[in-house]
Symmetry: C2
Subunit: 364 residues, 2 copies
Amino acid sequence: MSETKSLQEAFQEAPVKLAGHGPRNAAVLQAAFAAVDSGMESDMYGAGAVIEDFQEEMAELLGTEAAVFFPSGTMAQQIALRIWSDRMNLQAVAYHPLCHLEIHEQDGLKELHHLKPLLLADEERLITLEDVKSIAEPIACLLLELPQREIGGQLPEYAELEAIAAYCRVQNIRLHLDGARLLEVLPYYGKTAAEVCSLFDSVYISVYKGIGGIAGAVLAGGRDFTEEAKIWKRRHGGDLISLYPYIIPARYYYRQRAEKMGLYYEQAKDLAAMFNGCHKVSTLPEAPVSNMFHVYFGVDRERLEPLLVRFYEETGVGLTARLKERSGGRCSYEVSIGDLYGTLSQAEIQAAFRRLDELMRQIG
Amino acid sequence: MSETKSLQEAFQEAPVKLAGHGPRNAAVLQAAFAAVDSGMESDMYGAGAVIEDFQEEMAELLGTEAAVFFPSGTMAQQIALRIWSDRMNLQAVAYHPLCHLEIHEQDGLKELHHLKPLLLADEERLITLEDVKSIAEPIACLLLELPQREIGGQLPEYAELEAIAAYCRVQNIRLHLDGARLLEVLPYYGKTAAEVCSLFDSVYISVYKGIGGIAGAVLAGGRDFTEEAKIWKRRHGGDLISLYPYIIPARYYYRQRAEKMGLYYEQAKDLAAMFNGCHKVSTLPEAPVSNMFHVYFGVDRERLEPLLVRFYEETGVGLTARLKERSGGRCSYEVSIGDLYGTLSQAEIQAAFRRLDELMRQIG
């Protein structure tokens, strides 16, 4: 029976999941809305207490003059780069080859804004100061993603980040932070959000990664920047009559989880060590620097999927619904630690990993 | 005391409002979310039952092959025009001078898509077949808005609409329907949504006008069109991980109100007649053709505002929070009939209008 069951089915049926905050279902919304007064008024096209108060709270968190709530990070970041491009009168911007704008947005930056990205570093590693110094033409803006999600959530050392920021300032290059998971890296850096953001000219954070809201993003910077961003938000079709269906959950889950990022980070390190203790299993990075990392199995998908289905069925622990095929006959998936991990006992987790190690050894 | 009270304050304090469905507050969402099972799964980047089922239901309503849920009409309509422009290899499109894309979107169509709108007719009247025939250059697409909101929600006669559609077909001009308020005009036309939409190549409807959802739009047409629209939706930053906070209320209030459009239309005609019976008050159109119309007062704002504040305080009936200044020392505001109107007794309404007439006569 388990031979024909797909990994996704087996994952869904597994009573326990190791990562995440739990299912994205109506209950997530219902809980957030049950916590507000029914008379609380909607925002109206960017105005009103519900959006303005949250924007102020986020600006304070990030240490910027102002912040704007967006329906998506895709919209917020294209707009940030467009504003810097217009101000510098340069169409070239620079980012990592696995930047969200390059691989997940159907080339919106190019098709809508006609910007020309230079790709720095390569798909296997972070952007370094040397990469930035090697840029041979004038650029308006450099985008850095902290942590760099598509390579397991790696981070530059803080001194390197400071050096890049200092170099950009001297070279008159605007520095934008893709901080989708900014809060998640603060425990590793031992910095406040405002300290990290002070190195950047503009910042985007997501409200549904570690925070676990429904959708939405915050774009922050100087007030002239955010006011211009609001005009572009209208142009993109993102200045909705009402964004409170996203803002209320963002605020609700931010209050619950902002302080837990240190816990998630510690749990991620523990969990990565257990994966690394299994035969032919490793993590990237080996020691996580946030709540996230990638798990690599040195086995091809054809052999790995039935093994994982069996593992989910035997232990009741689901790891992932999908595997990504990688070079060298390997597979990987992404882990982001959330509230679920803390609901498991160490004994359960250790028993599961003993079984994973056994199954991986059987496969050879 | 009432001298210093603003129109907006007086309106907010008025216990009864004549138009609309009621306040846009958290209760609107709480009611919609309470009606779904807490285990109902979120949509994920456009996939999943919650979004796919609603899109199918809307495609069936509109008689099109397919439909796509968008966070906003702004996004949906720019994308529709862009697709037709690309396919026809023409940057020119045509629409009314008071089209939403021309006056409410910070020129997104021009700034993001580089399209060149020709403005047909003028700000006082509808686009006619003669206007369309007078277009002197090739255009990709003509956008018609039914009803034309900014002139009180006027409509062409159905035969004129059919003639325009036939002309566009012959001339190889794509015809796009801005049907933000399409459901609201069906009782006047005596047609189904699918019948009206059959005249068009693509259609947008809003889920928060007469339907009274939170925000969001549906873009419908052939499947090749909607599949291309999904790519542009991703580019615009509108392909959110989760749109269910808008889809659930859209479906919930659609079920409650789709059948009430005829009632709203009848009520709008009654109400307009009462306004037209008051001294120096008139409506545009004189006889509404949907649930909406504009009310014109032949008095300047300086004299009208204190009069309306007094009217709200004396009768308890609020008309509007804001007035628009018009040529010839007049003021106007927009009425959209919704559920609130039916909660008032005819006696209450008639007493209020007797008082409005008296106050307008006192002013001279």
